[in-house]
Symmetry: C2
């Protein structure tokens, strides 16, 4: 999506350790009107009328997923990070390694809000190694719901998470795939 | 707001330890269309045309704050929970006690996204003892921005956080204030 790539180039900052900071419109300060244009693109890519839920993981995927849920006219479900001492029953759980936090994170979602009657579109703002996304896919699998697709705003292609999921047959589409960061320059996959 | 009170009564569940679970439309599964009606109510309550930013705290306040930002036509800024080993410079920081997590939580926001030129409306889904909200107010104070108001969906009045902030002169409005939970029955403040 050209509009998104342009905005990444003009506002994104390349930091050490392959970090691209896009926190001026996507995941700290959030330009909600701009997210709406991303949601419209997802609507074109995933026109499946059977979609019943948008699923994301807390926290930074929530603004984009909220705007998508509004546009698709379905509820949003966000998987929560478990508080270690407070996991109740009636939950789907999926454990993953968070590279951001440098520790294991367990994502949870209440069983009553996801079932085999659901068709799910997963939405997230960022995809790098894909650990949070794998947890979301695992939760969909546990629930018996059908996965209609996975829509990502920005994928760091060089970290391999997206290509691995595509090789596994996941219906994954990213609006911008960054393939290289060198000397502060951002190169996108064609 | 009658519509919200009705929905709390029909779908909320009272659990032990004064917990009201409203996770079927507000903060786990999220009815975004319904949140829009809450946002419209906040627009009536806080018509200040000078508002430049909606501020909330991750994670569960983000859906409502996103919908508000869209309606007010301004960006959303969400304060993040600090990852202990990863606090950079250039940040507003406010430490608070999280009763949910049973530990100290530090909220952070980048200095570049909040300044004395801003007029801020704080939005959150829930207010109990008010610790996260105090951290948000503290961040606004540090930034020199003007606080236009604080809009809360559901306040647990009996936990005192809201009344304390009102006594401090904070421009706080909650759309539904729960004053009592007894025998599974929810009583609202008139």
């Amino acid at each position: 999506m050209e509009l998104l790539k342009k905005r990444i180039v003009s506002e994104g900052r390349v930091l050490p350790n392959n970090i691209v900071k896009i926190d001026g419109f996507l995941n700290h300060l959030v330009d909600v009107a701009f997210l709406k244009s991303l949601a419209e693109e997802f609507r074109r890519i995933f026109p499946d009328p059977a979609i019943t839920k948008i699923l994301t993981a807390e926290a930074s995927g929530i603004p984009l997923a909220t705007v998508c849920a509004e546009l698709f006219g379905v509820p949003l479900l966000f998987a929560k990070k478990a508080k270690s001492d407070n996991i109740e029953g009636g939950l789907y759980k999926s454990e993953t390694w968070s590279y951001t936090y440098g520790k294991k994170v367990t994502f949870i979602a209440a069983r009553e809000w996801l079932s085999p009657r659901d068709t799910v579109l997963i939405i997230d703002d960022f995809l790098a190694r894909g650990s949070a996304l794998s947890a979301l896919c695992d939760i969909v699998r546990q629930s018996g719901a059908r996965l209609a697709g996975i829509g990502i705003a920005v994928e760091k292609g060089f970290q391999g998470g997206g290509d691995k999921l595509r090789a596994d047959g996941m219906p994954l589409v990213s609006l911008a795939i960054i393939d290289r960061l060198s000397d502060g320059k951002i190169s996108f996959r064609e």
